[in-house]
């Protein structure tokens, strides 16, 4: 099915473990984004990518790593998970850049709990 899919939808891990959240889109959108959503903070941008092999930091990038070897995939890795990274993570894509009035299409979210 066309769209943007995230996996896993739910993940429980322990402090210090590495976790990778996957994001795949079928529209061939150039732009992809990772946000985290926390109560009281709304959505905060972690990283975004304008094209394959081009990534840039957002508001809260510390503790996260991204890659974009293929246009359709944009995985987010927590290299050593901490409790403060317990959150709901949303991946989004857009055909145009943010300043090109690009509408964002969101995945359903990945709910991560770090014990």
């Amino acid at each position: 099915d066309a769209g943007i899919t995230q996996s896993p939808r739910y993940k429980i891990t322990e402090t210090g473990r590495q976790v990778t959240l996957m994001c795949h889109q079928t529209w061939s959108h150039s732009y992809m984004f990772w946000y985290r959503q926390d109560l009281g903070h709304g959505l905060r941008l972690i990283y975004y990518s304008a094209a394959a092999d081009i990534t840039d930091k957002g508001e809260v990038p510390d503790g996260y790593v991204v890659s974009r070897s293929k246009t359709e995939n944009f995985p987010l890795t927590l290299e050593s998970a901490t409790r403060s990274q317990t959150s709901v993570y949303f991946c989004a894509s857009s055909s145009r850049g943010p300043s090109g009035t690009g509408e964002l299409f969101f995945g359903e979210g990945s709910r991560l709990t770090v014990l």
Binding site: Y35, L43, G58, P98, S99, T101, L104, E108, G109
Partner: protein, 112 residues
């Protein structure tokens, strides 16, 4: 830091009533977007208004933008129980390449 801030944080109304949510932002923008999020789901785009527009309509939605006050409002007319959701405004920076920044959202509850 948040670019947009929605007000109120929570709103409870009866079916048939109108719901108004406000968004204030800090810096110049190219456009402002509103998104909706149902509980446990991803965000869905509702409407986009450009900086040179003052008002825009889409079905039961009406969005206004006042760039001099750096504020926007989202009006949902004749609310339905299915409108129960969180609503977020999102702004881009006027600089090219700036990603969308979201506010903290308004939680709307429509009771029948």
């Amino acid at each position: 830091s948040q670019q947009g801030e929605e007000d109120p944080q929570a709103l409870s109304i009866q079916e048939g009533e109108n719901a108004t949510m406000n968004c204030s932002y800090k810096t110049s923008i190219n456009n402002l977007q509103w998104y909706r999020q149902n509980s446990g789901r991803g965000l869905v785009h509702l409407i986009l208004i450009r900086s040179n527009e003052r008002e825009k309509h889409s079905g039961r939605l009406r969005v206004t933008l006042d760039t001099s006050k750096k504020s926007s409002s989202l009006l949902i007319t004749a609310s339905r129980a299915a409108d129960t959701a969180s609503y977020f405004c999102a702004t881009d920076g006027a600089q090219a390449g700036t990603a969308l920044i979201f506010g903290k959202g308004t939680t709307l509850s429509v009771s029948s």
